[in-house]
């Protein structure tokens, strides 16, 4: 038993080391202006990554970090290096899958409904436009995993809230030349909301920081300023590259800026989602129900505030998917099939 644990730990340490080295290599190859994902010293960073492996609640942060590395890796121009780095990235992702660390191992499929579905959709996209997929999801529906799966299969960048936050912070740090990005990452991870891991992790600022933020954000509230920054960044990115973006009202932002995109809403029946959250967060049914409702409410309120629209209303999206009908992998395939029917495939 002790030997088994030691073996497992050894594997995790090796894997964490590979992730650290991959990040280092990517950074050295491109010298990205976004900086490195893991900027601490090697041993401490590996310890932190192992902690993320151990805690399912933090595993999505690790996935986000990996996605950030892959996003940067895709911009490597040297084909040979690009291939080597992407191969290493794929292997790391596969190894993580084998270790059963990710939340996508907790299924949501309802096999009966799954058997009834067929796929019909007409072609809609024009040529020469960047493929941007905006995914909104209800809590516990597996939307994050589906979004990640779609981006991974299409080999396009994946952005979620954590990545956006980090990107913005780093842009800020570059502007100011003051903030240490690695410290922020550690602090962000350490401030994981304990009560409800699904809720956005609001950062608390001291009075001095608040005044400084007021100055930085031109008198706007931090939330509004971040939204405006995200909107700007999103529009800039959308003109340059293909990507999958999770939440952030991206569908409406892009619509308002006349940028073509596909908007998808992923949800599942409440009890199915509650069941999944119970397993993911190791909580009882009552707590899971509360968490699901809280997160959904927060999403709806955020969406309503910045878009004036009702979150989750099928009419607002190109495609609404009941992930319980297909499961996570099935939903990924479903979306990919829809795209394929419309002539959009891995480039």
């Amino acid at each position: 038993m002790i030997n088994e644990y030691a073996d497992e730990h050894k594997k995790m340490r090796a894997l964490a080391g590979r992730i650290y080295d991959l990040d280092k290599r990517v950074y050295e190859e491109i010298g990205s202006n976004l900086g490195r994902v893991f900027t601490g010293d090697r041993d401490r960073t590996i310890d932190n990554i192992i902690k993320m492996f151990a805690d399912t609640k933090e595993s999505h942060i690790l996935r986000s970090d990996l996605a950030l590395i892959s996003n940067m890796a895709r911009s490597i121009r040297n084909k040979k290096v690009h291939k080597a780095v992407m191969t290493e990235y794929d292997e790391i992702v596969k190894t993580i899958d084998k270790l059963k660390l990710n939340s996508d191992k907790v299924e949501i499929i309802d096999k009966y409904i799954a058997g009834l579905n067929t796929l019909v959709m007409k072609k809609r996209f024009l040529e020469g436009q960047h493929l941007i997929i905006c995914i909104s999801r209800s809590y516990g529906s597996g939307g994050d995993d589906i979004g990640f799966g779609v981006s991974d299969n299409l080999e396009i960048d994946y952005y979620d809230a954590e990545i956006f936050k980090t990107v913005l912070k780093r842009l800020e740090a570059e502007k100011d030349g003051l903030i240490d990005a690695s410290q922020m990452k550690i602090s962000s991870a350490s401030k994981l909301a304990k009560k409800n891991p699904g809720l956005a992790r609001d950062e608390h600022f001291s009075l001095k920081e608040k005044i400084s933020k007021l100055n930085r954000y031109h008198g706007l509230s931090i939330r509004d300023a971040v939204f405006f920054n995200q909107s700007e960044l999103l529009c800039d990115m959308a003109r340059k590259q293909d990507f999958v973006v999770m939440g952030r009202c991206a569908d409406v932002i892009l619509t308002n800026n006349c940028i073509p995109h596909i908007s998808i809403f992923i949800t599942a029946p409440l009890m199915q989602r509650v069941q999944r959250i119970m397993e993911l967060n190791h909580v009882d049914k009552k707590t899971a129900l509360r968490q699901v409702r809280e997160v959904d409410r927060a999403h709806a309120s955020y969406y309503k505030y910045y878009t004036g629209r009702r979150w989750g209303q099928a009419g607002n999206y190109d495609l609404s998917v009941n992930s319980a009908s297909y499961g996570i992998k099935g939903s990924v395939d479903f979306i990919l099939n829809v795209l394929k029917v419309n002539g959009i495939e891995k480039s």
Binding site: E172, L220, A225, V252, T255
Partner: protein
């Protein structure tokens, strides 16, 4: 006895201002000077018909020289000086920033007058909110608070209070209106924040966003030396109120000395001094400020021209109505503060609030009170004086023509891409928002 039908030109002019922009705005834009001229000639003829040439000439010339001239020169001076102060900054117009600016502007009104504060604050507020689509409510609340209500704390704030000071009301007495001002500010700013937040969210939902790409907020005022000229104008206004009481400016019978014009109209020396100081301030402001500042402020003569044209008509056609007020005001039987508050206020909404204030100050002074503030017009209980002062100052916000800066703010806003409501459209706002607030004032300060 002044026939009531003499007020027809005044009503006609008000209806023209209210209806023409709605019926045919193009016609109004091109022909408003002729419309004003029509009502001007009409009232002159009617006055001539009723009172004869000498009296009619006196009424018309007196209103032009002693009321309109000082009014428009002051407005012109403040327009020029404020137009030479440019705000360069990237503070984004959001509900919290707007509430802060309106609060600052409101307090500033008591320090440099409602017109001075309005002219100084209007462009920065327009600039900060330029990224937004829904913003006319900001300017409406600006008129409510900065252009009117904020002027209640000192005699510098609003001309009626300066008239009161000239008649013996202590200079700092009006500071006692702070509770009323505070209540109105809190209520109005709360309503404003609610409305502005809704509008702000709609703007964001449409994809509008301010340019906050630069790190850090830069706020820079160019042409700040013009504050000296602004102070010059404020001093000139104060002098126009204080000099007439000095013996050096009075003859043996106590009449204020001045230049005698046709129809025995006298342009007093204090008024001439005021006009000269203001024109000098405006001249120096133009000479010492770079053209670029005015360019960045989108400074044009359009707004002041529009106000100058409309208000000469308003000042002249208003005279018969003021005569009626002088005749019937004291006979209205007003004895309670809340009556004074509403009657002074309602009349100040349409007439010049300075003569309206004086009519009711005189009326209250003649009621024979023995306790209260001692003025040259008699003793007035504190609540009575508060009611008259607040009515005259606050309710000027009820219409575009209620107070000098109202129309100015409207004109500048219209020139800078903000579609302001029509005359009646604005009154809808004041009826729905201001009147309930004034009812609350009545309950809190004059009834309970």
């Amino acid at each position: 006895m002044v026939p009531i039908w003499l007020s027809i030109p005044f009503v006609g002019l008000l209806l023209s201002i209210a209806l023409f922009p709605l019926i045919n705005s193009k016609f109004w834009d091109h022909n408003q000077k002729y419309v004003v001229c029509f009502w001007f000639v009409m009232v002159s003829c009617m006055l001539f018909y009723v009172f004869g040439l000498k009296s009619a000439g006196r009424v018309v010339l007196d209103s032009i020289v002693n009321d309109y001239l000082t009014f428009i020169v002051m407005l012109f001076g403040l327009y020029c000086v404020a137009g030479n102060i440019s705000f360069e900054g990237d503070l984004a117009g959001s509900p919290r920033v707007n509430v802060f600016l309106l609060a600052v502007g409101t307090i500033l009104s008591s320090c440099i007058g409602t017109t001075g504060s309005s002219m100084l604050m209007v462009r920065p507020i327009i600039k900060m909110n330029s990224w937004r689509k829904r913003k006319n409510h900001i300017m409406i609340f600006f008129i409510f608070l900065v252009s009117n209500i904020g002027g209640c704390l000192t005699p510098i704030g609003d001309p009626p209070l300066l008239m009161g000071f000239m008649r013996g009301v202590p200079f700092f007495w009006s500071l006692g209106l702070w509770k009323m001002l505070l209540l109105n500010m809190v209520v109005l700013l709360t309503i404003f924040r609610f409305i502005d937040k809704r509008a702000y969210r709609k703007d964001i939902a449409e994809g509008r966003r301010p340019d906050i790409s630069k790190a850090g907020t830069e706020i820079k005022f160019v042409g700040l030396h013009n504050l000296i000229f602004l102070i010059m104008i404020v001093v000139a206004v104060i002098l126009s109120g204080t000099l007439p009481n000095m013996k050096e400016f009075q003859d043996a019978s106590g009449k204020v000395l001045g230049v005698t014009l046709p129809f025995d109209v006298v342009l007093s020396y204090p008024s001439i001094i005021e006009i000269l100081i203001i024109l000098l301030a405006a001249f120096l402001s133009f000479k010492t400020t770079d053209k670029e500042v005015r360019r960045s402020n989108h400074f044009t003569w359009g707004a002041i021209k529009e106000v100058a044209v409309l208000f000469i008509g308003i000042f002249v056609t208003m005279q018969p109505t003021l005569m009626l007020l002088n005749e019937f005001g004291p006979k209205l039987g007003l004895t309670e503060p809340f009556q004074m508050f509403w009657v002074t206020g309602c009349l100040s909404s349409f007439l010049d609030n300075t003569p309206t204030y004086l009519v009711f100050l005189t009326t209250a002074g003649s009621l024979g009170f023995t306790h209260g503030i001692v003025t040259s017009l008699g003793v007035l209980p504190k609540t009575m004086l508060i009611a008259i002062s607040a009515g005259a100052v606050f309710m000027g916000a009820n219409t575009y023509i209620g107070n000098a800066p109202n129309f100015m703010v409207k004109a500048i806003s219209d020139e800078n891409g903000i579609r302001m409501p029509s005359f009646f459209g604005y009154m809808k706002w004041s009826l729905c928002i201001l009147i309930p607030v004034f009812l609350l004032d009545t309950l809190v300060f004059f009834v309970i």
